[in-house]
Amino acid sequence: MSEVSFRQRVGALALVAPLALFIALFFVWPLVTVLKESVSDATVSHALPTMVDAAADWNRQSPPTAAMKAALVTDLRGIEDQQLFGDLVRRLNSAQAGFRTLLPKTRTAVDKSRETTAPEAVDLEEIDKRWSNPAYWQAIAGTLSPFTDQHLLAAVDLSRDGTGAIVALGADESANLTILLRTFWVSALVTLVCLAIGLPYAMLAAAMTGWRRQLLLGAVLLPLWTSLLVRTASWYILLQDNGLVNDALQSLGLTDAPLRLIFNRVGVVIAMAHILLPFMVLPIYSVLITIPKTLMPAAASLGAHPLLAFLRVLLPLSLRGVASGALLVFMAAIGYYITPALIGGAQDQMISSVIAFYATGSANWGMAAALGIVLLAATLLLYMVYGWLSSDKTARA
């Protein structure tokens, strides 16, 4: 008996093994990597190994010690790998602007004097007077630990000052929180618009039969098969000042001058709502077709006004579809990048554009990962709230 159940269990496990492997490989592993990337900071300690000991008991206030200067020269002479040196420069420059030119210059100089001058005898300040500025040394000392919370703090507009205390970044320096809030706000707007269009549409489709229903569903599905970029570009053409929408409004005499529909929030919400509408319509529709068609006539026969029957019977029954549709649309919307980038103005960019900047523009993957983690955490939090709300409803029902 137990032998059979064991074999059955193995068989069942083997059946789900490809799925488990797929999830581990394409979901868990990338997530762990991203998490690690956001807190790991091993570049400087790896590239400057003797500096780690030399700077261990420096108080970060007094001028750098002679041992630290010698350690820097030793370490710079010891770096063979050009890409490691590149990583070092990039990491230090993101802590303190100026290392981009300072380090290569210093490295060339100390390499040249490799045979003639001992590390202790090199005068760094003669190579570049910036080495007399303690800010550069503080930057090195601050990046020697292999782990850092700097990226995660910066993702929510915080940083550590010279002494290690957490302080808020000025509005001039960082706007991640603003952009994060905006991301949620735009996504909420898009969800509302999708709901306002999607719910009646799904009801109409569910009420129809035959070719009419196929036509309505096809109209929702067709855009889903068109590339996101193509749909966004079409909205770009439709919404511009001399575009079809404005031309039509003006020739109908509804407006005198072109409405600003592009490079602002209005355009972003219109385009995103169009692209995400299928994700609202389909879940609602799938719930609606399971509701017996006899319920509404039954309510009417008991004397309910159609509106009352809708509010008390059909709407509560379709809420499950509304909730999952809204969740789908909202979660897809918070990750949007290309549509706000093309249709939106500067004040409509969402958090993905900031992540893209760090990932592709400045090669600061730690920062990109940290922003991704913050977005993920916020999304999970919302999902938990949703789960709590929906389970609460079922309990009450």
């Binding site: 496990l13 093994a17 492997l21 590149g86 001039d172 706007a175 001399n242 990932a359 523009g361």
Partner: protein
């Protein structure tokens, strides 16, 4: 039962492995990456197609909009899928420092002396000298702007303006509009007060600004009348005027010029073919054809000398156009790009 499940599992793993490494052994064609739009169309005519015909092997071309992170990601991941890439000056310097590019074999190119000094580096070969300048539609505006101060003057010239998204060029233009002389722009910008001053000047124009990223976008914005003026890569204006009969005008005073270079990504599969391609594109007889299509300056001295005088007049390297122009300060941007981009993005978001 057990045997079958083991087979199932191993089959699944093999299928997965096959899906992950598609055709690792098959050779990729030489892939050349440039900046898209009518510039890349011109390059396709005079470089890509003739080179493919000469070698008998296909040349793939792709477009990008810059970003050192993209190149770094490709190289760190191993086996990059691009070979020769045209990069901006600070990407060349950054990537060269970071070991992202192969070393250039200058003997294949006829020696360093045959190029302009600013077009020579250990890991890059100058491809063009180009300018970022104001452009406007000469058919819509008879009296166009003369300077960046006019670009900022929304009373005299109503309408939106477009600039390339990012602090580079934008801050310089703001200081020029605020009356800083061309020669002092980078001295002012090197101080915190200078940066504040540039952002204050940008504040004035912010409600009227539209931002572009790809080099073909400003042409579209200008052609559709979406904006009154835009900053633009100068060659594309001459290109569209010739190909589509537009009457777009360029304002040379206050323009910023720089050199774009060809690089070969480290460890690229076709690095030898890429080197041959760069040598082909640097031959005077090939390079001198470029200004017929698009008005960029040529870094190969013999090619520049072979350009006819009437085409010369449109190039950023023409003495009249250089007179009040500014050279991009690559070192300044290498040091400050990250900090200023962060501030710029925060400013944009407000």
């Amino acid at each position: 039962m057990k045997k079958r499940s083991v087979m199932l599992l191993s089959g699944a793993i093999m299928a997965l492995a096959a899906a992950i490494a598609p055709g690792a052994a098959s050779a990729r064609d030489l892939t050349v990456v440039s900046w898209g739009g009518n510039y890349q169309d011109a390059q396709r005519e005079i470089y890509f197609k003739p080179f493919a015909a000469q070698t008998g092997k296909p040349v793939l071309d792709e477009a990008w909009d810059g970003g050192i992170g993209i190149l770094q990601a490709k190289i760190k991941a191993g086996n990059p899928n691009w070979d020769a890439v045209q990069v901006e000056a600070e990407e060349l310097a950054l990537g060269c420092n970071d070991g992202l590019f192969e070393e250039i074999d200058w003997d294949k190119l006829g020696g360093r002396d045959s190029f302009l000094d600013s077009a020579v580096s250990d890991c890059g070969v100058g491809a063009i000298v180009w300018s970022t300048a104001i452009a406007y539609d000469g058919d819509k505006l008879k009296e166009g702007p003369q300077s960046w101060a006019d670009f900022w003057d929304t009373k005299k010239f109503p309408g939106k303006r477009a600039l390339r998204k990012g602090p580079k060029y934008t801050l310089e233009f703001a200081l020029l509009a605020d009356g800083v002389p061309v020669k002092e722009v980078y001295d002012v910008l090197a101080t915190p007060e200078g940066v504040d001053r540039a952002f204050r000047k940008l504040d004035e124009l912010k409600p009227n600004l539209v931002w572009w990223e790809a080099g073909a976008q400003p042409l579209q914005l200008l052609a559709s009348g979406e904006v009154a003026f835009t900053s633009v890569y100068n060659g594309r204006i001459t290109g569209i005027n010739r190909s589509e009969g537009k009457n777009f005008k360029i304002v040379w005073p206050g323009s910023i010029y720089a050199v774009d270079s060809w690089v070969i990504l480290k460890g690229a599969e076709n690095k030898d073919a890429a080197m041959d391609f760069i040598a082909f594109a640097s031959k005077p007889e090939n390079q001198s054809k470029l200004p017929q299509y698009i008005a960029y300056g040529l870094p190969v001295k013999a090619a520049a000398a072979a350009v006819t005088p009437e085409l010369q007049a449109d190039l950023p390297t023409a003495p009249a156009n250089l007179e009040h122009a500014l050279a991009l300060d690559v070192d300044f941007w290498i040091d400050n790009a990250e900090a200023l981009t962060q501030r710029f993005n925060a400013w944009l978001a407000r």
